[in-house]
């Protein structure tokens, strides 16, 4: 019997659950998963206090597993995600605060660095319901970012959502040299002809990387300018319910600039797939 996946939604004073819960419910509906709302505090509290702390009305609590654990929030989240074999961790983030850049006291940052599964970061606000209609998958041409194709395409396929591959390579970055890279064309002899060919080839490669990608639901868009700004600009102009990012797993100051910018500025949740660096 296949296990029912768990979506872990932690909450405490720092890890906010209000915005995260509708997203977790929406994802759970797509995936046939169970949402576990996990309170983390210095000590255990009664069941009634737990529900009250979650701020849930009775009908809102229906269908949820509500549990609690004690300890340092980030460490607990990582431990519980491992123990429960969580499919995703879904975290609400603080508005206007770059939690990924704060070196200390950021549970979000620590969870991201240690999570055994993809993490969904949900901005504050949002409605009571969330559904996936359009998934934005930024791509910079390197196989690393293409590693998010398969899981993102699976999500889109499950939701019957449109998958938009937003090709947005950094303008000052060198051309990717990893085998299998597919950057924007180096040569545009005659752009109207070249773009058509490149688009066809790009979508072919995307389908090779992930057979789940269906031609009809897939769209390729070229972003202009820096990737972070290009992604946010696209979201502003076209909307999007979820952004899927591939991440090398490094958060030193000069790294993951695009991810920081998107997490901070995106009006929709961002799911982060950690891709182990190649040897």
């Amino acid at each position: 019997m296949a296990a029912i996946p768990t979506l872990l939604v932690p909450f405490d004073g720092q890890l906010r659950s209000r915005a995260a819960l509708p997203v977790a419910r929406g994802l759970a509906a797509m995936m046939g998963a169970t949402v576990t709302l996990l309170h983390i505090g210095p000590q255990t509290i009664s069941a009634a206090a737990l529900v009250q702390r979650a701020g849930l009305a009775a009908e809102e609590a229906a269908g949820l597993i509500i549990d609690q654990a004690t300890g340092a929030p980030a460490r607990v989240v990582i431990r519980e995600a491992l123990a429960r074999n969580a499919a995703f961790i879904i975290l609400g983030r603080a508005g206007g605060e770059d939690e990924l850049s704060r070196a200390a006291q950021s549970a979000v940052r620590e969870v991201l660095l240690g999570a055994p599964c993809p993490v969904v970061l949900v901005p504050p606000g949002g409605g009571r319901d969330w559904a996936l209609h359009q998934l934005i998958l930024p791509h910079d041409g390197a196989p690393t970012s293409a590693a998010a194709f398969a899981p993102a395409a699976e999500l889109a396929a499950r939701a019957g959502a449109k998958l938009v591959i937003l090709h947005a390579p950094p303008s000052d970055a060198e051309r990717p040299t990893e085998p299998g890279s597919f950057a924007a064309p180096r040569y545009l002899d005659h752009p109207h002809q070249e773009w058509a060919s490149w688009t066809r080839e790009f979508l072919h490669r995307a389908r090779c990387a992930c057979p789940l990608i269906e031609t009809g639901s897939l769209r390729l868009v070229l972003g202009h300018g820096e990737p972070g700004a290009a992604i946010l600009d696209f979201l502003q102009r076209n909307g999007g319910d979820l952004v899927a990012l591939a991440w090398h797993g490094r958060l030193e100051p000069a790294r993951a600039q695009t991810m920081r910018q998107v997490v901070l500025g995106a009006p929709c949740p961002v799911i982060i797939f950690r891709v182990p660096p190649k040897d």
Binding site: W195, P211, V221
Partner: protein, 778 residues
């Protein structure tokens, strides 16, 4: 599913094809294993072609990673829904085969790939494939394939399959298409035919088959009409059995035959009568003859050797001297990209290869421009000009098929201005006509139509340029090769090529009057060309504005270029995107960033117009401002760098040009190989490294071997003489063997010369910086 016996199971094909891959690795392009993400590139790079029909190197059995296709030169289909104009018809892949073992299709995607290798045999023009596969049931089959597009009979294609049942006994089947949708299929003993239509062209295929040992041959008519008809050969194979199927396929079209089906059947019958092996041998002999002139041997740099042979292979494969109504598309017959459209690439980048190694093919390619001259006349007239304005993009008719708008990948609809404003193509065609004539001495071609091109393009420029109040002739609102700057005035490339066009047209009239007498008088009368018009061309040419600064030697790329924003293009070298995408179109337009060689292209094409110091000044000025956003650019920079003696720069640009198709991480070649870059690569060696300059009395050389190139050997034709040239770096010397009927003058640029007679070899050595004298070699 209906099935009926088919008498093609053991037909004689004249014996097994006795071909083996070339043993010299310098003639082989290898791809080991199977990388799905690279498959489209491999299909283009390893394509086989003969200028009449080209076929991508897709897996015979197909896969979800495959993009099979065959293309016929000149067969275009209109697509009213496409913004990109007519496209080269995509024929279903004639080599498609399904192999079944015990009823299960053998697929690279199912079971275990034990060994897989494709080899493009450049010397023989043959694609080889070796595949050893364990199917999901554990049966191991070895499959070896070869295919070629005959260079000796351009209508003929050949495929051969060898199967070995390595660890089993069982039923093995091969099922072959063609199952072309909408085609009319017929089967007679030993021959299957299909007739289909692509646009206005009727295409007929006739396929024979020879199985060894004799197979049960059947025709399968599927109950599903869309599945079509297939031929099947089946064997009950014993352990270790080796099975063979040879398939000659003949293609004829209504473009060249009144009755294409009958012609295809007759040709196939002839091939079967002579034997497929005889066809294979004739094919290899034809390649051998072409290589005897076209090969460039580079000692000391294996990568450069591979690149230059790859370039020559595709150039040979792209052209057909027997067809004067087609030209070579930007991707030739190797892929769908660019829809088979013909650009200035052909005349400026590819044609010199044919002029110097296969003049008959060069002539046929120029005849395409003769045969489409009326379309160019109409185009000029439609814009209110005289003469002929060639299409920026053309297909079969010569009418312009450049779209006026296209959808960019960011969803914006962008106007395409090149069709209306990139007019230098007319001068480029004229340039190629002149180069062909003066190199081959083919005055017959000039009287047949070549001079018409020179005259009509000169007339266009004479009406296009306007003499203004400053007394100068200006050509305003054009686009030069640097397409980052549109609607500019007095583009240096356009104006200099137009000036050259005007002067050479006038010269051609003078020369033909002297050489041809009455024949020229008749031609001139038909062209309504008189002395006054020729004088007018010379007057306008002298007045054409070119922003040359005598102080610096810099030629301003267009009026106002010098005032644009400086941009450090080199800082963007190696970036993930071309510089115009980094900067955005507006900032690019306001900057000095140059897309591709523009003024530097003038150095490549019109070297003798300026002293070397001017070329050097312009190379130094424009190189740091050029983003090489076009695949046409690096090879031209390589050529000019070599002429300037900048050996390191030459190698840098030569390698960049070579990598356009052969690099394995750019995806550039998926839609077909870059023919202009390949032609440019050849030019960079012949005109750059060897410094070949055709002259009126012979050929001059100006060698600049880069470090690491110990020796290069090549051949060129000049007015029915064949020169076999060796340039050696150690104890620097040049050796030239002369073949043909008449003598010519051999020279070094700005150096000694000699009269060389046919049948003799001449050499010259260098001591330090000084060349000695030419000596007849013993």
């Amino acid at each position: 599913m209906a099935e009926k016996p088919y008498d093609g199971g053991g037909a004689a094909c004249g014996g097994e094809i006795v071909l083996t891959p070339t043993s010299d690795p310098n003639w082989l392009l290898l791809e080991e294993g199977f990388a799905p993400l690279r498959e489209h590139e491999i299909e283009s790079i390893f394509a086989i072609s003969n200028g009449y029909v080209g076929t991508r190197a897709s897996l015979e059995e197909d896969s979800r990673f495959s993009q099979p296709g065959a293309f016929l030169a000149g067969v275009f289909v209109e697509d009213p829904d496409s913004m990109l104009g007519p496209y080269l018809a995509l024929l279903p892949g004639w080599p498609h085969l399904e192999i079944k073992v015990e009823g299960q299709p053998l697929s690279i995607e199912a079971g275990r790939l034990l060994y897989h290798r494709r080899m493009l045999d450049l010397r023989q023009g043959v694609l080889w494939r070796e595949w050893r596969h364990e199917d999901p049931s554990g049966r191991v089959t070895r499959a070896c394939f070869l295919r070629f597009a005959s260079l000796s009979d351009r209508h003929a294609l050949v495929q051969s399959v060898h199967l070995t049942a390595e660890n089993y006994s069982g039923r093995v089947e091969i099922l072959a298409s063609p199952t072309f949708p909408g085609a009319e299929h017929r089967f007679s003993p030993a021959v299957a035919t299909a007739v289909l239509h692509a646009g206005k062209t009727c295409i007929a295929l006739a396929a024979g088959a020879c199985a060894e040992p004799s197979a049960e041959a059947t025709v399968i008519q599927s109950a599903n009409p869309a599945a079509g008809v297939r031929r099947r050969w089946a064997w009950n194979a014993r352990l270790g059995a080796r099975l063979r199927l040879d398939r000659p396929v003949v293609v004829c079209t209504s473009r060249e035959e009144t009755h294409p089906l009958a012609s295809a059947q007759t040709r196939l019958a002839d091939i079967l009568a002579r034997g497929v092996d005889a066809l294979a041998r004739a094919h290899v002999d034809a390649w051998s003859r072409r290589w005897s002139v076209a090969d460039i041997r580079i000692a000391g740099d294996a990568e450069a050797q591979r690149a230059i042979r790859f370039a020559a292979y595709h150039l040979i494969a792209a052209a057909n001297p027997g067809d004067e109504h087609v030209s070579i598309g930007a991707r030739a017959l190797t892929g769908e990209a660019y829809h088979g459209h013909v650009f200035w690439d052909t005349e400026s980048y590819m044609l010199p290869f044919y002029i110097f190694t296969d003049p008959a093919t060069a002539r046929a390619l120029l005849m395409y421009r003769c045969n489409t001259l009326d379309a160019a006349r109409r185009r000029a007239a439609a814009r209110g000009y005289r003469g002929a304005l060639y299409a920026w993009e053309s297909a079969d008719t010569g009418d312009d098929v450049t779209p006026e708008a296209a959808i960019a990948p960011d969803g914006r609809v962008v106007a395409i201005l090149t069709g209306a404003h990139e007019q230098h193509v007319s001068a480029d065609v004229a340039y190629a006509v002149w180069l062909y004539w003066r190199t081959t001495g083919d005055t017959g071609f000039m009287l047949e139509g070549g001079v018409d091109i020179l005259v009509e393009t000169a007339r266009f420029w004479a009406s296009r340029a306007t003499i203004e109040a400053d007394g100068r002739a200006h050509i305003r609102a054009v686009i030069g090769p640097d397409e980052y700057h549109e609607m500019i005035d007095d583009n240096a490339y356009t104006n200099c090529m137009a000036r050259w066009n005007l002067l050479r047209a006038a010269d051609a009239a003078d020369l033909l009057a002297k050489e041809c007498g009455a024949a020229w008088d008749e031609r001139a009368r038909r062209l309504a060309l008189d002395d006054a018009e020729r004088a007018e061309w010379r007057r306008i040419a002298a007045a054409l504005a070119v922003g040359f600064d005598p102080e610096t030697g810099i030629i301003e790329q267009f009026d106002g270029y010098a005032a644009l924003e400086e941009i450090d293009v080199r800082a963007h070298a190696g970036c993930a995107t071309p510089i115009d995408l980094c900067l955005g179109p507006e900032r690019t337009r306001r900057s000095k960033a140059v897309k591709q060689a523009d003024v530097v292209a003038l150095s490549a094409f019109l070297w003798d117009e300026w002293p070397q110091s001017v070329h050097r000044a312009n190379f130094d000025y424009y190189e740091p401002r050029t983003g090489h956003g076009s695949s046409l650019s690096p090879a031209i920079y390589a050529l000019v760098a070599a002429r300037l003696g900048l050996a390191e720069k030459f190698l840098e640009y030569f390698r960049q040009a070579a990598e356009i198709d052969l690099s394995n991480n750019m995806g550039n070649a998926a839609g077909g190989v870059h023919m202009a870059a390949l032609g440019g690569l050849w030019q960079s060696v012949i005109f750059g490294v060897a410094g070949v300059r055709p002259r009126e009395d012979g050929v001059a050389l100006d060698p600049h071997l880069p470090d690491g190139w110990a020796e290069i050997c090549f051949a060129i034709e000049w007015r029915r003489r064949l020169l076999r040239v060796t340039l050696a770096a150690t104890e620097p010397h040049i050796r030239v063997g002369v073949e043909g009927a008449q003598e010519l003058r051999l020279a070094l640029v700005d150096g000694p010369s000699c009269v060389a007679r046919p049948g003799a070899s001449y050499s010259i050595g260098r001591d330090g910086a000084t060349w000695g004298a030419w000596r007849e070699a013993q």
